[in-house]
Symmetry: C2
Subunit: 240 residues, 2 copies
């Protein structure tokens, strides 16, 4: 079965992870709340989580511009965390900081993710293509029971998405042509970059990624091969 606009059935699906497969915001807020209770500190933990995530883009851009040497996402998260702990007046021991930074290794999946991936795995090679580092993605897969066939990270190419080296690097390691690979992501910029390099694209709507107040752009976009409401819907639309 072929979807309209899908000239080639893909052989492998690459997944963006943060926001697309796992609910980073809800998971980080839960960890912060637990830690706040333990330490007797009250704060706007949603703002802390959003600030943590918001710091990642400029930090990554500094790596991309060569102002910082290559640095895995764990290290970028840790640098941002130091500032936030000061700003939110949360005093932690070295081991508590380490443990909190590893909250990104323990993110929970969206309710549809495990079932959707399970269905897709029967018909396609399914793998991550994430800016998260390898150790983070491996720990997360164990925690969330994500049944990946392979784990590809920006770390393997020492380039962050949307650098072409990431999409084309993962495609080469799969020994496939770009048109045989589909990027599945909740972020249009990521998909647009993959499309530019010949990959097929599946846009997944994740209205709650940035919380109930956010108003992300969820409109269907004709540039992308398919648009889906969640990973089960991706499976349905790919006939899996």
């Amino acid at each position: 079965m072929l979807i309209r606009g899908m000239k080639h059935r893909p052989k492998a699906l690459l997944f963006d992870v943060f926001g697309t497969v796992v609910d980073w915001r809800g998971s980080i807020i839960r960890e912060l709340r637990r830690l706040g209770r333990k330490k007797g500190v009250r704060a706007d933990w949603a703002l802390f989580a959003d600030s943590w995530r918001a710091g990642y883009r400029p930090a990554m851009d500094r790596v991309r511009r060569g102002e910082l040497p290559w640095m895995a996402l764990d290290e970028l998260h840790r640098r941002i965390l130091e500032d936030l702990l000061e700003r939110f007046k949360l005093r932690l021991s070295a081991s508590e900081k380490h443990e909190l930074n590893r909250a990104w290794h323990r993110l929970d999946p969206w309710p549809d993710s495990v079932q959707g991936l399970g269905r897709l795995k029967r018909r396609f090679v399914i793998a991550t293509l994430s800016n998260g580092n390898m150790a983070l993605l491996i720990d997360m897969a164990k925690h969330a029971r994500l049944p990946w066939d392979g784990i590809f990270s920006a770390e393997l190419f020492q380039r962050y998405k949307p650098d072409p080296a990431t999409y084309l690097g993962a495609t080469a390691l799969l020994a496939l042509e770009p048109r045989e690979v589909m990027l599945v992501a909740a972020h249009k910029e990521d998909l647009a970059a993959a499309r530019e390099h010949g990959l097929q694209t599946a846009f997944v709507r994740r209205p709650l990624e940035h919380g109930p107040q956010a108003t992300p752009d969820l409109s269907a976009d004709r540039r992308f091969t398919i648009t889906a409401d969640d990973l089960i819907d991706v499976a349905r639309k790919l006939g899996a």
Copy 2:
């Protein structure tokens, strides 16, 4: 529980694959026999399989010495295959050759492998560290239902084992210290190299890797952290 001689419980286990986890020889002989019947050719398919595998080491050594550019194992297998087809007078179309070369993507596990890995996966990160290329290892995991948490290949480092870059590269991607990682392999040379770079080691006896006539060195070796009879025995000895 700590084994005698094991100062640190490892956090991750890296597995050699050909011979250690899968029975390459039996699987390749079965594929060749099937193809021979289809093409009406009779030959010593065990000799063909052994010659195919025997060609891999000198080909890899040529890559290591820089006489050949980096080449994934699929390509090395394909070069060796061309010679063998001539020697064994087996005439194949381009697509039949491609299909036969991919027999290495469809190797069957030893009878204990899936159960042993399943047990080990509950307590450790389990990943490949193989000279097979990524696409080969991903296809094989799907075919043989090997429940890897991660797939590391020589291809990621463009260096073949026993190059230190492979053991240390995988360890770095796991964000671990060498002593927190254990290489599990049926080949003493592989284990000795890993040990030299600080990894723990598990020697797995695979008496049938080279067929019933072969007499491989299966003696316990005090250099290695543990010696086991199969992957279930590795699990038992690591308390998993």
